[in-house]
């Protein structure tokens, strides 16, 4: 019942064409879903930041959305939106949206008060302060949320495919299971893990590029052994 890793690898190599053929749609669903989720998280978080009452109205709904059991909701979404890309995008977005949204809202709130006050004294309006101060302040938080989100993304896509798809790692796992081929199931699992790892590394690289000042901070702390920053002090 439990195939040796060597056999899994050998079978994965034998079936590489079929695996690759089923991996591509999963990657597409993952990336498309994640992109939608990111855009939605940004827009909604900005709205919530500008209209505080919206936060109280929206957050209970968002939290409720996170309690939906994926196993139950995935077949329904497929039932409603068919076997195409759309239900996968929706499910990936559903599981990845929340951590990024929470991180962004938290990050805006973490903007240093002196910086906002100074910008206001310079004559900057609310929108200006958002772009100049609140959004950059939120970036480190956002990337923390993004790293959590991205590990859910592939799983979300696979769940959606499991519930019904023409091609994809999820449906591949399902048919391998039905054909009593645990080796091929595990081969697909290995591919999905590799996908998640790759995405995670990409997220870390993106963070390095987008938040270069955080690197400067930790480098200085490393070099001089002093406190990394005075920002956190009361």
């Amino acid at each position: 019942m439990l195939p040796a890793p060597s056999r899994v690898l050998a079978k994965a190599w034998e079936n590489r064409a079929a695996l690759a053929d089923n991996t591509l749609p999963t990657i597409r669903a993952t990336l498309a879903g994640f992109a939608c989720s990111l855009v939605a998280a940004f827009i909604l978080s900005a709205l919530v930041d500008f209209f505080a009452p919206l936060r109280r109205a929206l957050f209970p709904l968002l939290i409720a959305s996170q309690t939906l059991p994926l196993v139950a909701i995935a077949p329904l979404v497929v039932l409603w939106f068919g076997f195409g890309l759309l239900p996968k995008i929706l499910l990936v977005a559903l599981v990845t949206f929340f951590p990024m949204m929470v991180a962004l809202v938290q990050g805006y709130a973490a903007t240093a008060k002196e910086i906002s006050q100074m910008l206001a004294a310079m004559g900057a309006g609310r929108r200006r302060i958002f772009w100049l101060a609140r959004l950059p302040s939120a970036l480190p938080y956002f990337f923390a949320g993004l790293r959590i989100s991205i590990t859910y993304a592939v799983v979300g896509a696979i769940f959606a495919e499991y519930a019904g798809a023409a091609k994809g790692l999820g449906i591949y796992m399902l048919s391998a299971k039905n054909n009593f081929r645990p080796d091929l199931v595990l081969a697909a699992v290995a591919v999905s893990s590799a996908l998640t790892l790759t995405l995670f590394v990409l997220a870390v690289l993106a963070q390095r590029l987008a938040v270069p000042w955080e690197n400067a901070k930790s480098e200085r702390a490393g070099r001089y052994g002093d406190k990394p920053s005075r920002e956190g002090r009361p």
């Binding site: 240093a112 002196e114 910086i115 006050q117 100074m118 910008l119 206001a120 004294a121 310079m122 004559g123 900057a124 200006r128 100049l132 101060a133 950059p136 302040s137 970036l139 938040v211 270069p212 000042w213 400067a216 901070k217 200085r220 990394p228 920053s229 005075r230 920002e231 002090r233």
Partner: protein
């Protein structure tokens, strides 16, 4: 010429009376300090000036009622944006005023040497020492070319030695530029070293208990003669702050000269 003039400014936060009638004035090219105990409402006064909050009383600038963009404000701690390089922090005020980033950089770049920041234009704020951060913050403040500087305990977060060095440096800078400046501080020595005049505030609710002139010649390098005179003034101010001096300014007084 009188630039800034406050008449009987009052501010309450609910039942808490913070400012109980502050009257003061700042002349063109004058360095004036507001000195008071912690929590006296010094920062509230600056918030009134920058328009962050509203209070009762009269604020005039060049004789007309105070309108928005007169001040370049330097907040407590440096408020440098960690995500902007030093040069882009320095240009922030100009960018908010609508200047293109490139033009703003060209405007501030020549000033880096004078502010002891040459070679650090492209550094992140996290890579600077505490004193350099304050100089960068002051650079960001003065390049805005507003009519007057508001300095809110600019050196409060520095260690004692760096603070002393920064105070001397600011005194030199001020001699060269003669900015009209209003400084908030609770450091008596700092106020005496830098100011032409000092308003001493009482504990909350704040009122002006004494207006102290500092008729010491500049440059105020630490000669023995200067130190002796300065120490006498400092001692007098400390007596006012720590002793139970009677306030000479009542809310109803209006002005006190």
């Amino acid at each position: 010429m009188t630039r800034l003039e406050l008449r009987n400014m009052r501010k309450n936060f609910g039942a808490l009376e913070v400012l109980a009638g502050i009257s003061l004035h700042v002349e063109e090219g004058e360095f004036v300090s507001i000195l008071g105990p912690s929590g006296a409402g010094k920062s509230t006064l600056f918030q009134l000036l920058t328009g962050a909050i509203r209070g009762e009383g009269e604020m005039r600038f060049d004789g007309a009622p105070l309108d928005g963009a007169r001040f370049a404000f330097m907040p407590q701690r440096d408020a440098l944006m960690p995500w902007r390089r030093v040069i882009d922090n320095a240009t922030l005020g100009l960018e908010v005023q609508g200047m293109k980033r490139r033009a703003a950089r060209e405007r501030v770049a020549p000033l880096f040497a004078e502010f002891g920041l040459a070679g650090f234009e492209r550094a992140w704020p996290a890579e600077l020492s505490g004193g350099m951060r304050q100089r960068a913050a002051l650079l960001r403040t003065v390049v805005q070319q507003r009519d007057m500087l508001l300095l809110d305990e600019p050196f409060g977060a520095l260690d004692a030695l760096t603070r002393a060095a920064m105070q001397r440096w600011l005194e030199t800078m001020w001699r060269n530029h003669r900015w009209t400046a209003l400084l908030i501080t609770h450091d008596v020595r700092e106020a005496v070293l830098l100011s032409d005049r000092i308003y001493v505030l009482s504990a909350r609710p704040a009122r002006v208990v004494r207006e102290v002139a500092v008729p010491l010649p500049r440059p105020r390098t630490e000669s023995t003669a200067f130190a002796r005179k300065a120490a006498a003034i400092e001692a007098g101010i400390l007596d006012i702050l720590l002793g139970a001096a009677e306030p000479i300014s009542r809310p109803s007084d209006g002005e006190n000269r």
